[in-house]
Symmetry: C2
Subunit: 316 residues, 2 copies
């Protein structure tokens, strides 16, 4: 039986892609052949064993991971998201991971700032009044003169900082290494009591899990706003619930733990919280953007170069 | 009977203020005495007839206007808002008007951008899903790559333009006179079909009333967003309702006609509309900001100078 015929040079780098958009995105990449696989399936298509790269998608990690062990020549897992926590430490030995940093960064930063502005300017209360056809003015907060602590000093953090500046806010970025305009977690306890908002855009790792815990929240000032646009487990949900019910803090969460948030979870109805269903990167055109970034990484790999977005492992 | 004793030099400029905050704001202004009056009342306090300046507030225009005719020495009406339409052409002959431009500009621009982001990123739909405890992701629009037409090239328009730039949007300002970065209304029909959003931050005058009419709306492209943070009568509400019910446009309105919007008005429940109750300038600290601007204008008048914010009439 003849294997399905991927386009292009049979000596080219074989890349498995989880959706037809990947075939289009890689069609014009030099030295690359693309073959579609089913990321929810239990088997691989004929010819797949020659693959050196697999493009993966977070929502299908649990069904995709067992397939990776059956690819003897696999060297690179290219993720379609920036966050790669479902894959970290779980890919076969010697396989590197690159992510889609740059595809979603601005969209996710945009949602974080949209959620912060909506919370400060009381848009949920006005939407509620609108549903009751009630004209009920009330004063809101403002980014003007506000101090915003941004946990995460990468692509997302830099976008958030640039976006809040013209509103008159001052952002402080928190990263792993101190540098011009970036402080470290060691500086955060002293800074927290002065911040009007904290925006979390960190990746999830063992070092960042529950970084926003009860102690962190307790140091935030009365009336401050927490925005989580990173990953749900970065925040201790029980500790946050206690602060919300005390009326001391407000929050806007695009990510929760678990996801989807179960119907009976107390976060849905906690006072002062706005929840969106992990849509940070979900703007129209996102699929084209993530494939454009993935294609750049795959092209670099095919040329024998190190992909810019390598986040785990190394290519020997 | 002794008139109530305003503080300071009896030869100083007498300024009537509509609230106690005005007494504090003007206490340290050289050459000025302040006297409180009731802007909802039918009479003036003893000694008020010596006033050359009255500070006024839009919500009490209808009760304040009759009082102005009883002040023979009146030369300046200082408004606490930027919009001065309730006073325009209605103050006694020879009386000038200055406004509070600068006090609310950034706050109003902030709300306009917050409403635009909330609409693009589908926050009302997510708030509705949250109320039903439902995790319902959907793709939104984005300011990234968007074209935004800003009607109004003054303080507010400049703020809106600066605020949307880091999101990747390109703003075009529309003003009365063409200049670097500013086009005129003559250019708008050709530009409209390409715009993803139109933000209205114009003052209300005879020239701007219903500037957004059925013809204007019809030229906007499918799915575009109209934000009105100027004045309600700038937009033809019936024409907008038709476009909303056709599902062709979406809108976010901080101002309506009339205000408050009556409970039975069809705008409340039109599809794709987000309504806030004229709170553009209503951020905490707004009272201090508007009085700081008013005090600067009054101080200039007391020194015999032309207040920077003179918007109608001239001081001989």
């Amino acid at each position: 039986m003849t294997p399905p015929s991927p386009t292009g040079d049979p000596d080219a780098t074989l890349v498995l892609v989880p959706e037809p958009a990947g075939l289009d995105a890689l069609a014009d990449v030099a030295g690359v052949r693309a073959l579609e696989y089913d990321p929810r399936g239990s088997s691989l298509p004929d010819g797949a064993e020659a693959a050196t790269v697999v493009v993966v998608d977070n929502p299908h990690a649990e069904t995709t991971l067992p397939l990776l062990g059956r690819l003897p020549r696999l060297r690179l897992v290219q993720n379609l998201s920036a966050g790669f926590d479902p894959w970290d430490g779980r890919v076969p030995d010697g396989v590197a991971i690159s992510n889609a940093r740059g595809a979603h960064g601005r969209a996710t930063a945009e949602l974080a700032v949209a959620l912060l502005l909506a919370t400060l300017r009381e848009l949920p209360a006005f939407a509620d009044a609108q549903a009751r056809r009630a004209w009920e003015p009330r004063d809101g907060g403002s980014l003007a003169g506000a101090r915003v602590l941004v946990l995460g000093a990468g692509d997302l953090g830099a976008h958030v900082s640039a976006m809040v500046a013209p509103f008159g806010a001052t952002a402080t970025l928190v990263g792993r290494t101190a540098r011009e305009g970036v402080v470290t977690m060691d500086d955060v306890p002293a800074l927290l009591p002065e911040q009007d908002a904290v925006v979390v855009v960190l990746p999830l790792t063992d070092a960042t899990r529950r970084v926003v815990d009860a102690t962190f929240l307790a140091r935030m000032k009365d009336g401050a706003v927490l925005v989580n646009a990173g990953r749900g487990p970065l925040v201790d949900a029980d500790a946050l619930l206690a602060e919300l019910h005390a009326g001391r803090l407000r929050a806007a969460l695009d990510v929760t733990d678990p996801e989807p948030l179960p119907e009976d979870h107390p976060l849905w109805t906690a006072p002062g919280v706005l929840i969106t269903p992990h849509v940070g990167g979900d703007v129209r055109g996102w699929q084209a953007r993530q494939w454009a970034v993935a294609a750049e990484q795959v092209a670099a790999f095919a040329r024998g170069e190190r992909p810019d977005n390598l986040v785990a492992g190394e290519l020997a």
